[in-house]
Amino acid sequence: MLEKGRISTLQMEFIIVPAVLATSILSIPAITGRLARHDMWMTPIIGSITGFLIVFIIWKLHQFYPKMTPVQYMEEIIGKIAGRAFGFSLILVFLHRTGISVRDYSDFLTSNVMLHTPELVFTISMIFVCALAARGGIEVIARTAVICTALFMGTAIVLLLLIKDIDITYMLPIFENGVLPVLKGGFINHSWFTDFFFLGFIFPFLNNQEKGLKAGMRSSFVVMFIFVYLNFFVLTLIGISCINQFYPVYAIVRAISVFEFFENFEVLVTASWVLGNFVKFSFFLYVISLSLGQLFRLSDFRILVFPMGLLLMFFGYWDLPNLVASRKYLAQIHPFVMTFFQFLLPLFLLMIAIFRKKWREKRR
């Protein structure tokens, strides 16, 4: 066993929620709004169906192979060679998508918070810090996640200060263009919800295995709720024009002003958002290093953490010249890659696993 730590289900929720949320809240209504227009607030609800499904699929797979992570049981299910090949490509996908998330994070900071600091400074410092946490194993990530996520999610409350400014009529008419745009927007959301696939890397390390499914479903619901919450405020505050913003959520946070004193929450929100990103990246970096260690049967995954961190950085800057290209990737390519690797792949694995079990029973 590469990982001896055990975490509680609550800690699992504290890890997985920011892992799904942290970078997607940057672009959330901007991408889905382009497709779903003023029905965008419904898209997370459509997308969350995937979330619940994935949690269920991963949970079923976990019950077939209770002590294994997806990279490990893949070899058991589809054979050694194919399993390892898929495992390796999965790790590459993880590296790529995490690299792009880190890039998103640095892009945001350098274009909004500290305009004169080179982007690479944020990337390197963040990856270094995440590597420190990832080396500590799942327990350390979980313990830091509890406090970081609590602070990260806590700042979501400041949006309530906007209630006096919202205009519900921006949401009308509902279903103006039929259901199809909503489904399209839901598909983008679905790609974010496929991140619940990462639960497969936590389930084996739970100290209370029975409660895993419930906790997974609950975190999927929490993520959906927060997406709807953000979409609602963005839509009712700035309407459909939010699709022209790169960072709509940031834009509405900047608009908070109560008594001329409760202002400038954007710095507070950004600071806490850094914490959320830290949880996400450290957990993803940990998953990448751990699965690579499991794939190559290493005795310790810790030696992989810093090299993988370096790779993450390269993947983030490779082939993405600027923010526009990165947004295009997120809207047009990312959903399909994620659907294949984080939704269809586990689905197929589950089907084969069930089939194999039935077949084995029949032979007996």
Binding site: L109, V113, E139, R143, V146, F261, E263
Partner: protein
Amino acid sequence: MIQIRRSPLKKTAKKKPEDKQTSSEDIPLSKQLNESLDFFKSLYKDSSDVMFRSFLIGDRDASIIYIEGLSDVEKLDEFVLNKLMNKNEIDMTNLVSSLKNSLPISNLRNITTYKQCIEDIANGNPVLLIDGYEAAYSLGLVKFEKRAIEEPAAESGIRGPREGFTESLGVNTALVRRIIKDPALKMKPLHVGTYTKTKVVVSYIEGLVDSTLLEEIENRINRIEIDGILESGYIEEFIEDHPYSPFPQVLYSERPDVVSANLLEGRTIIMIDGTPFALIAPVSFFSLFQSQEDYYERFWIGTFIRMLRFLFLAVSLFLPSIYVAITTFHQEMIPTDLLLSIASSREGVPFPAIVEAIMMEFAFEALREAGVRLPKQIGSAVSIVGALVIGQAAVEAGIVSAPMVIVVSITGIASFLIPRYSIGLAIRLLRFPIIILAGFLGLIGVMLAFIILLIHLANLKSFGLPYLSPISTTQKNALRDTIIRSPLWKMDVRPQLTGNVDLTRQGSHLKPNVDQGPGEGGS
């Protein structure tokens, strides 16, 4: 680079080097008094404080050895010499039994080796040697000058007992025993230090404490090979899990009530002779923010003060760096009026904010240290001069800005709010690297510093107990006695430490309920 930390236990302890004094002494006493006396006299040559008194019991030679100032000479004269020299009282045919009956001393022990004799003499027990016997008597007449029980100076309070531990271990154990009367309270003696031979007592309540934890603590203490133990800090540094961490992994207290409360929560206490500070292990980060008065006053105020402490922990750790970050990078964050006043006061200041902050923090630390270490009369002079020079002259001369002085002084006040001095020290140290990070990366640097700190804390363990438990380990009832202080009748269970022990502290449904009447309340 991979660094593998070995646990202190794994380091194989070398065999204790036999020092020349104690090598040949574990041999039985000689039957001849002269031989024994010669031995002791050569051992204690050039030691003017060791007294030898030879006399006759009946017709036998006898001698008493004691150390001046450690034994009660009056009682020795009255109850020992007086009786033994009175021939009528001693039955020479059956000397042993008549000795036992004629000496009115409660703590009278038979000892047979030189080593035991030396130990007893050093502890202040006069040793009675009689010619023709292989055994000596240790007379429990210890009496030395000690400080009276006073109010604890380092942990004062308004409500609560005013007794504090003293330098004498016997007094300290008695103070604890007076609070916890159950025989389950155990006190295991250990000895540490080749020269000081300091007595260390490991105290715990049987049944509440995890036995493996106890074993681990004893092993770690037994592993110490040092010439002397002068303070609990010596022990602390040798038994920590993470010796390089700036955070204290063992708590200390000089209050018997705090020690008893920790015993009742299933922790282990290490009391050391010669210091009023007892060590408490294992502890978590959140127990460093508890003070005894949280429990003595109403729970609302206890909760409020706890939260205040956490707020001011953040202030004392981050306020100077946040100020540096905001004035250097995020001016837009400050409301315009405030920004104008800050800008006008910083106008003539020749230094960037980060240099200013580090300078002021250093000056403040120096002032504080000067105030603590100097004699009281000079100390107050230093602080007045320092406050005048730094607070007023420097601002008027335009070398530092007034807001920076305010920030530094708020930080200083905030660090005094933390009830445990040892964590305050850690925070004082950590402030400087955070200021530097803030100077380079603004608020992102502050956040990165926070994350690094959090990772470090998440890695820490105190005797197997995660340092951030119970909140970060999301245990049941984690919030009950950490950030808030819930009412005593709600704290039905002890905090979960290591191991599986019974956690029930009290009956449930203890909430006072007048309507139920006195008879039904405690079901």
